[in-house]
Symmetry: C2
Subunit: 233 residues, 2 copies
DNA sequence: CGCGAGCTTGACGTTGTTCAACTAGAGTGG
DNA sequence: CCACTCTAGTTGAACAACGTCAAGCTCGCG
């Protein structure tokens, strides 16, 4: 984690969070929030918000990829979702609990802004339109979570891995040819199966020509077939 | 579905939704919402909100038990969660999409109030504190959904059925001895397994004395053991 | 009485986990 | 510069978990 305190890592005038805010509140009001902001850079693997800690901050992910990780009481890791910036995070916790239900961990190097949630909430209580917008954005992860849930509940590993490949391609890396920054073990934690099973399934897809694997690089050759496998389960 | 139009089925002054509302807005404002309200009774099995239909209403469940049901494109039903009143529902969809992501179906006879969402939203935009409260209540289902997701992802059927029994006992029927209004098939759709497997697991728990089954009635004898099975997966 | 829906049980095959062994690459220290 | 270790990836075999199928059972209802 790197903190440059007074120095600004990224330009606040370009910030999407600011854009939302200033649609609904005067610049001076936004300044109150911005003053509580803390620009940070996280390296791959670093914990941004820790499960169980107090929810003192709302988090805006400018750039990079994170995983939402839940560690159960048996010490097993479960990946709830993978998200790439720019996106508002942590609102999930904000409306529920005074502690984080899960950890947010950098999967790639990330640029992040932390906002003091108390200041923000007090402003939001007086500005319903902004709150509505933020709630809409912040709860996006829940929708992803529900569809993951459906995928896990009624599909076997073939279908789940297909779902994950499609999701990564469309929502995280935003291209059909990407460098997989997740390990096989992490994919297993996302798919809810053993890492051996991930390997077997991926190399099966590779042999069948649906995808091409070059080390860490994955190319999706036949998106239709992948979607077909996903549909069948 | 029964609609008495002018007649009032239940007393609005006792309504929890009204209680929330009037904490933050004058009675006259609340009256605007109440005028759009539609008191309805649904019988077991009736669809209250249909998946895919427009989200024109927010739903307040006064009394009864409902299931949130997702039908996938293969025609399979998946139960996202089971909820008993009094509870605010449909907020989930409200903040995402202009159509319902899933159906809400009565599992027991239900007393329900439907509110026009446009009227409500316009009032909410000017009343952040109420909105915050509603968001907190309405998004409760997401938290349940996440924990179901975790349960499904990394537990086998023993653990999942335990989770469901604990959940039903603590959050739906609110007692350790209850009449199961769900069929074995519905439990299977909730747990993500075959209905035969539900039966086998339940009768195993019965033989081991953890629960007692008398037809539709279930008594949880050993909650600790159930929680232990849930923990181990 | 007969019918259908929900429930139950056992046999059997498929799917997925676990375990163990092996390979390759990256980092470390003598 | 090489041996050592650690991590990630890979593969196959044995075994357990789970779904599917088929049959029979009970209960409520027309």
């Amino acid at each position: 984690m790197t903190d440059f305190s007074d120095k600004k890592l990224f330009d606040c005038t370009q910030c999407i969070f600011r854009m939302y805010s200033c649609m609904y509140m005067p610049e001076e009001e936004y300044e109150k929030i911005r003053k509580t902001a803390n620009q940070l850079q996280f390296k791959k693997g670093e914990v941004i918000l820790k499960q169980g800690s107090k929810t003192t901050h709302l988090l805006f992910l400018h750039k990079g990829v994170i995983k939402m990780n839940y560690e159960n009481n048996a010490g097993k890791n479960i990946i709830l979702t993978i998200v790439s910036g720019p996106k508002l995070l942590g609102g999930a916790n904000l409306f529920f609990k005074d502690y984080n239900l899960f950890s947010i961990i950098a999967v790639e190097d990330c640029d992040v802004c932390l906002f003091d949630s108390k200041t923000l909430m007090s402003l939001l209580a007086e500005n319903g339109s902004l709150l509505l917008t933020l709630v809409e954005r912040a709860t996006e992860m829940f929708q992803a979570s529900i569809f993951n849930y459906i995928s896990l509940a009624h599909k076997q590993v073939n279908g789940r891995i297909s779902d994950i490949l499609i999701y990564l391609s469309e929502h995280v890396y935003k291209t059909k040819q990407f460098i997989l920054t997740l390990t096989r073990k992490e994919i297993a934690e996302f798919a809810g199966c053993s890492h051996e099973n991930v390997i077997i399934t991926l190399s099966k897809f590779n042999k069948e020509g649906i995808i091409t694997i070059n080390g860490k690089e994955i190319i999706i050759n036949d998106m239709d077939k992948l979607q077909d496998i996903s549909r069948r389960g």
